[in-house]
């Protein structure tokens, strides 16, 4: 028995070591190389730590320079505006739709659920052409509303199912009690269901936010110069400034910082959101 436990410990240790290497190396490379000067990049080894660290890279990446024209600051703002708006609206509409899906059991809801289920994992390629046409025709593509609406269309079904899985776990007795007291369905939802579902809203918001922040296909196809997101400008920077590895890594770090901070501080909600997405909530 003892030797078995020892074997297990050795296996766990080796696996842990390999995993740490595989998952810390990319992060390390991103941070270390984002702090190097271009001389250190071209002459040194990518694996070595920066000496001395060059913090001005971040300023250059945020505000641009002669050699780096893909400045991040305006794009960061674009991403923040688009992602937060979509997240807030998705959580709101998703809560309403999810409550309906979770609490009504008619044939119509079953059909609706299947339609939502297909929409959840719909490849964007199947809808992108009409969306681009609509947004170009209505000139919405020139403002934030183009991308915001596009993301709403694709993410409200997801938010509804995620919120719905949480509502399914709330006992019905609560609403029955409210109904006896004469509250309407809408009142019950906003006064009783919503306050106790705030953790669920947090989980859904964090999932939607990450998804929208990291989305690339739609952002690439719909972005006008003024509404470019961080992901799109990063892809552009990689294409045009191949040698400026340090600046690329600095912009990568800035691009991931927002969702990564959410992940580190709100990891619990993150995991709950992922599990709800797998219908395990």
């Amino acid at each position: 028995m003892k030797t078995k436990n020892l074997n297990l410990k050795i296996i766990v240790f080796i696996v842990l070591l390999l995993l740490s290497l595989a998952y810390l190396l990319p992060i390390y490379l991103m941070v270390a190389n984002s702090l190097k000067s271009i001389q250190q990049i071209t002459t040194g080894n990518y694996l070595f730590p920066p000496s001395p660290p060059v913090f001005s890279n971040y300023i250059e990446v945020l505000f641009g320079s002669n050699r780096f024209r893909s400045e991040m600051m305006p794009r960061l703002l674009n991403s923040v505006i688009i992602s937060f708006t979509v997240t807030a609206l998705c959580a709101f509409f998703g809560g309403l739709g999810g409550f309906y899906l979770a609490r009504t059991k008619t044939t119509f809801v079953r059909i609706l659920f299947v339609l939502v289920g297909i929409a959840l994992y719909l490849p964007y390629q199947a809808v992108i052409i009409p969306i681009v046409i609509i947004m170009a025709k209505t000139k919405l593509a020139l403002s934030y509303w183009g991308l915001i609406l596009a993301y709403l269309i694709l993410n409200v079904p997801l938010a509804s199912v995620l919120m719905g899985t949480f509502f399914l776990s709330i006992p019905r007795e609560l609403e029955e009690a409210a109904k006896v007291d004469g509250a309407s369905r809408v009142q019950t939802f906003f006064r009783i269901i919503t306050p106790i579902s705030l953790p669920a809203y947090a989980s859904v918001a964090i999932i939607i936010f990450t998804q929208v922040w990291n989305e690339f296909f739609m952002a690439l196809s719909l972005a006008s110069p003024k509404t470019q997101t961080v992901q799109v400008v990063m892809a552009e920077a990689k294409g045009t400034t191949l040698v400026l590895y340090n600046l690329q890594m600095a912009s990568a770090l800035i691009a991931v910082s927002v969702p990564l901070i959410f992940f580190l501080f709100l990891g619990r909600y993150f995991i709950r959101g992922i599990l709800a997405g797998a219908l395990k909530g």
Partner: protein, 301 residues
């Protein structure tokens, strides 16, 4: 009995305000979504091949053209590689790791590992792809520095047309491993399964035996979900290819989703792009049928 049913249906009935608040918003977005899908299908049957719109119905001309293109069959091959190699190793590793975490004798290991392998979920493929393409870089990239330092010959990674797709798939596996472990782990944690494991342990079954004869057969629904999600993600893969190889070298890493984007937005063969979009949707539809049936049953049970 009848009276009870009548009561229930009356309770379920929504007032006009209820419908406006709860049903209309979701329905509104769904209607737009399915209209755009129908619109794509229609465009795929027209002959729209410049920037100027052309909505004259011309039949399945573009599908025939696509099926005769060499490029399409390269895409299909590559997509198959993605579907198999993006999913099978990920699921296998996830089961192994999730089990190891359950068995782990050190309590702190679990939370550390979770954070360690889950953080890529917060990152975009664009960022991951950028980092990995510098690790793959043949002359001075990290992997070749390490390989050559250890006395081996360097590899060409994503610049070798024969192997490029596999190296791209590795990034995908890396990105989705933590996500898969979380889902697998949660399917371990049902009371029934824990009881079965306990009973098997008392009977003296080895840990590996428990994994293969007790755990895996009993987490089928969890695996169905995980496999469906991974299949869909690997079918839709676009970002990794765009950022690391842009479909190259040549067409060696091209997939349907990438071809669709090039056709629609670079070559302006809108009908061909639409047809490819419809093909991708059809494949995705096949993948999600079992998932949707399962979800429907669970939801309305």
């Amino acid at each position: 009995m009848f009276f009870e049913r009548f009561q229930r249906s009356k309770r379920d009935r929504l007032s006009l305000t209820d419908i406006l608040v709860f049903v209309v918003p979701l329905l509104f977005f769904l209607i737009i979504l399915y209209s755009t899908l129908a619109w794509t299908v229609y465009v795929s049957f027209t002959d729209w091949k410049t920037i100027a719109p052309n909505y004259v119905f011309t039949g399945p001309k573009w599908y025939e053209s696509i099926f005769h293109q060499h490029r399409f069959w390269i895409d299909v091959q590559n997509n198959l590689k993605w579907l198999i190699l993006g999913v099978v190793p990920t699921v296998t590793l996830a089961i192994f790791l999730a089990y190891l975490l359950e068995l782990s004798p050190f309590p702190a290991v679990e939370s550390y590992t979770r954070t360690l392998i889950l953080y890529p979920v917060a990152m975009s493929f664009i960022v991951t792809g950028t980092i990995w393409s510098w690790m793959y870089e043949p002359t001075r990239g990290v992997f070749n520095t390490i390989l050559q330092g250890a006395g081996f010959e360097g590899l060409r990674f994503a610049t070798n047309p024969n192997t490029a797709t596999y190296w791209l798939i590795l990034i995908f596996i890396w990105q989705y491993l933590g996500f898969s472990v979380i889902i697998t782990q949660s399917s371990f944690r049902t009371a029934e399964l824990q009881e079965m494991i306990e009973a098997a342990t008392v009977d003296g079954a080895s840990k590996l035996r428990i994994l293969f004869s007790v755990i895996i057969p009993n987490i089928r629904s969890g695996l169905l979900i995980l496999i469906s999600l991974l299949l869909i993600s690997s079918l839709k893969v676009f970002d990794i290819i765009y950022i690391v190889t842009f479909g190259g070298p040549g067409l060696s890493t091209d997939v349907l989703a990438f071809n669709m984007w090039i056709s629609s937005f670079q070559q302006h063969l809108i009908s061909q792009g639409a047809a490819l979009g419809v093909i991708i949707f059809a494949l995705a539809f096949i993948i999600i049928i079992p998932y949707t049936i399962y979800a429907l049953r669970r939801w309305f049970e």
